[in-house]
């Protein structure tokens, strides 16, 4: 009988410990979200770009000995009835040189729509050396019906860019920020509107794009 009671006690203690493990692992699943963000930011492997202020950009040394081709592309997700494209397809730059290019957007619908652009840089190892000073992706863009907008991107390629990289592609995906409107214009899905976006409120681009 004594044994039976002991076993009960042991079981109870063990179950408590194991339950804590299960709960901790449930938490760990969620902890992977910020861990992933941090990991990607440190290693710069997720195509996420860096950001510098104008002073730092101006201060960086221009490396005339190298030329890098930067290509531009962009598309809208289904659900955003905008025309969206870069005004020039590519540009040759020296590392350290601050450059401005423009993207073109036109609202083809007859209502005002708010969009958010999410940038991505390939190859991955170039991303952390691609620093933006100014970008339309830093904040949401609102276009009135039929409105046309030319939107600047000011960037500098860090001279630390690995030697092997000769071409960098900067790409934007433009999303409709209002889920109901996105659905109306052809996005699939039946999600609730995205009032409380995880990152939406912050205008900081690194955060706004940092998944």
């Amino acid at each position: 009988m004594a044994r039976k009671k002991d076993i009960r006690q042991n079981n109870k203690r063990l179950v408590q410990k194991l339950a804590v493990v299960a709960l901790a692992m449930f938490g760990f699943g969620f902890a992977m979200v910020p861990l992933y963000d941090v990991f990607c930011e440190i290693t710069g492997i997720n195509g996420k770009t860096g950001r510098v202020d104008a002073q730092a950009a101006a201060a960086s040394k221009v490396d005339k000995s190298r030329t890098v081709t930067v290509e531009f592309t962009g598309h809208t997700s289904s659900g955003l009835p905008w025309e969206f494209k870069p005004l020039r397809k590519k540009i040759d730059v020296h590392p350290g040189q601050t450059v401005v290019v423009k993207y073109y957007a036109r609202n083809m619908s007859d209502e005002a729509i708010i969009g958010q652009a999410v940038p991505s840089v390939t190859p991955g190892q170039a991303a952390e050396h691609f620093n933006k000073v100014e970008c339309f992706c830093f904040s949401q863009q609102k276009l009135a019906p039929g409105e046309v907008k030319e939107m600047p991107v000011q960037f500098v390629v860090n001279p630390g860019l690995p030697r092997g990289v000769r071409t960098i592609t900067l790409s934007y995906a433009f999303f409709n920020m209002d889920k109901a409107s996105a659905k109306k214009y052809g996005a699939k899905g039946d999600r609730a509107s995205n009032r409380n976006h995880r990152h939406q409120v912050k205008a900081d681009p690194v955060v706004a794009s940092g998944g």
Binding site: I7, N10, N11, L14, V15, L18, A19, V21, A22, L23, M25, F26, G27, F28, G29, F30, M32, V33, Y36, T43, I45, N46, G47, S77, Q116, V118, G124, Q125, A173, F175, N176, M177, A182, A187, K188, G189, D190, R191, A192, S193, N194, R195, N196, H197, R198, H199, Q200, V207, A208, S209, G210, G211
Partner: protein
């Protein structure tokens, strides 16, 4: 004993016996029947897939329904067949193998089981909601953005996955508590039968990864309905993050689906080779190292997403490292058979086929682990062939072999050996006709999860469909055989198999409702 009988004498009968039972044997039986029923449900879905793929072009179902079939087939086979079947084996066998009177937490045990039928009714009910998008259809891996866009089926799938997760975690806690606290005196850890060892390690894997999976689908749910953007790029999330979380669960999950199979085979082979298991200690350590390594290889499912080179290399080598302990196991099974006085009753046939065919699956896994090769093979039928060799001729063959092995003990009746052999041969032949050609299809570039295909793939697909129907219908023979054994088989002896060793074989067949109320002494 007399008091024990008097105390437990009045079992409820009929339906309430099964609803309220806390007896490990009853609950084991419930799990096994659930698995067998869902085996036919999931199998029927597979045959819909194969029927559609018999010819190029769209014949029988529309593409959306085809996608529902591939998704539901996988979800049901993984969570409704293989996992419940293993838990059924655990319930029946673990207490009898370690000399315990029951599982450590009998009431929780009842609950773990009874969550499952409801989860699967919920999941399957979506098939009847075709107007709202039908069953989940984004694949069992539930990748966003598709799962964020899908209809109501995804929500039902998420809810049922939560229920399955709770059931598995409770079951795992129960198994660990039973094994660690309820062993008969003298049954040290290193004397435990290998089936018990593999389940102990599996239970820890379940405990570690099922909650992560539950977290991942919770994030999908909040992305879908509550305005978060974990995986939604528009709101700053990242769909790739889901893949990392999913495979952090998913790869250990595939070992959850195979370690108990290793255990079953390690019980069967020594019995019919009439030799003790070769390298028992190394078997235990190999199992533990496989489980440990399974946490650091997940990105081999994601080689093509654009990982940095260092990541590709790390995950490639880590994956290949798993082949070492796996090889140790295969070596030990073969060495156990070496110069044994072997006989080939049905359980042994399934075990030998397991060793042979599972190894083929392991080898195709190694091919997939080579990064540059995987760029070619990823998301083709080669992957489909790989995981069916490890899951059907691995997990399912072990389950069938184990069922034949212990059925006489559980029911007290011998099964019909001739029928068993027929079942075995039809199953192996059907299986190989169904899945071997899929290797070639994959190498030639046929993508997986596609309802239509280019003409040049026709012939191998027809082979595959014919084999699948043979494999599927052969299982009806198994159902018939089980019912026949329960109702009318010859009386089985206590020993059943003359080479069998272990505590369960000291009990009468069938064992009384309560066994080892006083713990046996283990020397």
């Amino acid at each position: 004993m007399a008091t024990a009988t008097a105390h437990h004498g009045a079992h409820p009968t009929g339906i309430s016996r099964w609803l309220f039972t806390t007896n490990h044997k009853d609950i084991g039986t419930l799990y096994l029947w659930l698995a067998l029923i869902l085996f036919f449900v999931g199998g029927a879905m597979a045959l819909v897939i194969r029927a559609e793929l018999f010819e190029p072009g769209m014949q029988i179902v529309d593409p959306h329904f085809f996608n529902q079939m591939t998704t539901m087939h996988a979800l049901i086979m993984v969570f409704g067949v293989v996992m419940p079947a293993f838990v059924g084996f655990a319930n029946w066998q673990i207490p009898m193998m370690i000399g315990a009177p029951d599982m450590a937490l009998p009431r929780m045990n009842n609950w773990s089981f009874w969550i499952l039928p409801f989860a699967f009714v919920l999941l399957s009910s979506t098939l009847f909601m075709q107007d709202q998008g039908g069953a989940p259809s984004a694949g069992w891996t539930l990748y966003p953005p598709l799962t964020i866009q899908g209809g109501i089926g995804t929500d039902f799938a998420i809810l049922s996955i939560h229920m399955l997760g709770i059931s598995s975690v409770l079951g795992a806690i129960n198994v660990i508590a039973t094994i660690l606290n309820m062993r008969a005196p003298g049954m040290t850890l290193m004397k435990m039968p290998l089936f018990v060892w593999t389940w102990l390690i599996t239970a820890f894997l379940l405990l570690a990864v099922m909650p992560v999976f539950a977290g991942a689908v919770t994030m999908l749910l909040t992305d879908r309905h509550f305005g978060t953007s974990f995986f939604d790029a528009a709101g700053g999330g990242d769909p790739l993050l889901f893949q990392h979380i999913f495979w952090f669960f998913g790869h250990p999950e595939v070992y959850i689906l195979i370690l108990p199979a290793f255990g079953i085979v390690s019980q069967i082979i020594p019995t019919f080779a009439r030799k003790p298991l070769f390298g028992y200690n190394s078997m235990v350590y190999a199992t533990a190292s496989i489980a440990f390594l399974s946490f650091v290889v997940w990105a081999h499912h994601m080689f093509t997403v654009g990982l940095p080179l260092a990541g590709e290399l790390f995950f490639m080598y880590a994956t290949m490292l798993i082949a070492v302990p796996t090889g140790v196991k295969v070596f030990n099974w073969i060495t156990t058979m070496w110069r044994g006085s072997m006989t080939f009753e049905t359980p042994m046939l399934f075990a030998v086929a397991f060793v042979f065919l599972f190894t083929i699956g392991g080898l195709s896994g190694l091919m997939l682990a080579i990064v540059p090769a995987d760029f070619q093979y990823h998301d083709t039928y080669f992957v489909v062939a790989h995981f069916h060799y490890v899951l059907v001729s691995g997990a399912i063959f072990a389950i069938l072999g184990g069922a034949y092995y212990w059925l006489p003990k559980w029911t007290g009746h011998m099964y019909n050996e001739t029928l068993g052999k027929w079942h075995f041969w039809l199953t192996v032949i059907g299986f190989n006709i169904a899945f071997f050609p899929q290797h070639f299809l994959g190498l030639a570039g046929m993508p997986r999860r596609i309802p239509d295909y280019a003409l040049q793939f026709t012939e191998f697909n027809q082979w595959s469909t014919v084999g699948a129907f043979l494999l599927g219908f052969a299982q009806l023979l198994f159902l018939y055989l089980v019912v026949q054994t329960i109702r009318s088989g010859k009386k089985a002896s206590t020993q059943v198999w003359d080479g069998a060793k272990g505590l369960e074989w000291t009990l009468p067949s069938p064992p009384p409702y309560h066994t080892f109320a006083t713990a046996p002494k283990v020397k």
